[in-house]
Amino acid sequence: MDATAAVSEKAGRGMTVQVLSTKAEQAILSSFEANAAKLPGGAAVAALRQAAMGAFASKGLPSRRVEDFKYTDLKANVKDVLPLATGGAAVDAATAFGAHFGPEFAANAVVFADGRGVAAAGGATLLASVLGQSPGWVEAALSDTALSASADLLLNTALFTDGAVIDISAGAEVADPIVLVASAKDNAMTALRHVIRVGAGAKVTIVEVDRARQGVGLRQSSALTQMVVGDGAEVVHIKVVETNKGSLHLGHWQVNLGANVTYKPFQVTVGEGLVRNGLNVLFNGQHSTFDYGAASVVHGTGHADSTLIVDHKVPHCTSRELFKTVLDDQARAVFQGRVIVRPDAQKTDGKQMAQALMLSPDAEFDSKPELEIYADDVVCGHGSTVAEIDPDLVFYCTSRGIPTAVARALLIESFIGEAIDKVEHEGLRQALSGIARDSLTA
């Protein structure tokens, strides 16, 4: 470790500024300095990036002493930083998707190859091209102060090379899912920023896919999605992260819900890499529903962290969370679910369930529900279970002629399937099931 002060002029004794002490932190700063001039955006965006990197420099990568990263110590676990990809050879959608998404999804897909969108499609434009034309709402969104609290988000603001801008007009019903696929060459870092606005009464399904399995090399990716959902809109929001050993994914969704909204996020994480999926949801309007599901299958020394903060600021809203994970080998999953019910948020109905199926005695599941309830007329509950495959159920299956290995696979699939069944779109549900199933037999 090198204790050189990266922001030396501020690193005086007694100040709150912390030195960037790790090799990875210094590499991030160097990468920013080397690439800053070619990152998209005008002077205002450049200033925003500079400020974000400055704030990152003062925080450093979060260690376990930062409560939200208690089980996912990025300072200790991120040892090297890969070179930032700022564009590369185009990749077709089918290759970027992998085997499980049918060809029907390709028509409406935006592929990001090595950090740059190949072409706009399906109602999505590319952030890098939009920034030059500067529609006010996009740049305003980028500077949302809610995103300056955490170092992993600051990194994205400093480094993003592109992303999708999706603006669904009021009342629009988008029939086919809009799919954003990130693909990159091996041994590269990518940072994408998606900015989404869904108009009142609109209906849309948005899918984000991040894959690090196409090669044997490593991949580091940051993906930050900001979404504002207008009154009465219905949004299905799906994320798939496939990682390999040694790879890193830092994902975050920042979502603001209006009134009478139905927002259904679903996140699938598979593989052996280090994954952090943050999701912050704010209820700004009454009678809205947040219906979250997650399915993760982790093996090897994989580590998958899902950290949710659901903020009930207004009355009469409903939140549902169902998190399921299958853990093998020395894999570790983290579920942190904070539900804040503000004093005015009467009649809040919040339920949370986190379940792990352990296939190995060396796997670990850290489940941390946090209910902060300041209103007195609410219904809130949470549960968490950790179990092994029930030997009685295996016996029941084998007594019907099903071989033990098939019986176990059937029971594991059924466990994870209970979560995936929340996805109503059949093609998507099949794709997600296929990804989970492949990972179970990996």
């Binding site: 159920l393 016996f395 029941y396 084998t398 007594s399 019907r400 002629g401 099903i402 466990f415 209970e418």
Partner: protein, 251 residues
């Protein structure tokens, strides 16, 4: 033919001995009933026949059609024709009944070197069998046994039995939890499977079931071994006198 010879069984992780030299023969085409008081070892016998973990056979053997099945895994026994209808059928959340039935049916057919069923063949087969047992086809789309009533679970067991076409059927307290109507449906389902190539072992605590599934022989199991064997009239005697004669305790 089922031949159980001097079977001695203890719990694998305790010293408790449950079966103490049980011997029994059920020829093909016959239905034998095993009756006995609680704790006599009836369910243990059923589980040991099906190959459940947790029991240790310390002596004796179980032969099915001349071959010992003791070293076989439960799925191999099923392929050889052994079927246990559970006293408490298990619920499998997340696995649709049809998926379960199809996986089991084709696994068994594959091991018996029969062609696996195509989807249309399977659907036709399952619909036909389900209708006979008064099972609503829609119910089979739901997870196995989840939310089923006691009667529905038992009918679901008999449907599995009909699908897998076993040659040795072991029914463990199939009458428990059944009302009169359900008992009739389940018994009719079992009787429909009686045939010259099939042996059945019907384990029950009460004589009631045997009015519907009339046995060729009745065995009294108490204290880990067969204490008495007789015809179907033995069940009626037991109904009057109880098991006191075999347990050494007043009923």
């Amino acid at each position: 033919m089922l031949e159980i010879k001097n079977l001695n069984v203890k719990l694998a992780d305790e010293d408790k001995v449950i079966l103490k030299g049980l011997s029994l023969t059920v020829p093909k085409g016959e239905v034998h009933a095993i009756m006995g008081p609680n704790g006599s070892g009836k369910s243990t016998l059923a589980y040991v026949l099906a190959g459940r973990d947790g029991y240790e056979v310390t002596d004796g053997d179980i032969l099915w059609n001349g071959d010992s099945i003791l070293e076989m895994e439960p799925d191999e026994r099923a392929a050889k024709g052994v079927f246990l209808a559970f006293q408490y059928p298990m619920e499998i959340p997340g696995v649709a009944g049809l998926t379960f039935l199809r996986t089991a049916t084709n696994a068994v057919r594959k091991k018996r070197e029969q062609a696996e069923m195509t989807t249309p063949e399977f659907m036709k087969f399952v619909k036909e069998k389900a209708a006979k047992l008064n099972i609503d086809y829609e119910m089979l789309k739901r997870p196995v046994n989840v939310g089923f009533s006691g009667g529905e679970k038992k009918r679901s067991e008999i449907l599995q039995m009909a699908m897998l076409e076993p040659t040795l059927c072991v029914l463990d307290e199939t009458d428990s939890g059944l009302d009169i109507d359900a008992l009739k449906i389940v018994s009719d389902g079992v009787n429909a499977l009686r045939g010259p190539d099939r042996a059945m072992l019907v384990i029950t605590h009460y004589q009631r079931l045997l009015n519907h599934i009339v046995p060729d022989k009745v065995h009294v199991l108490a204290d880990g071994r067969i204490q008495k064997t007789g015809g179907k009239e033995l069940a009626l005697e037991l109904e009057k006198s109880g098991y006191a004669e075999f347990t050494g305790k007043a009923a």
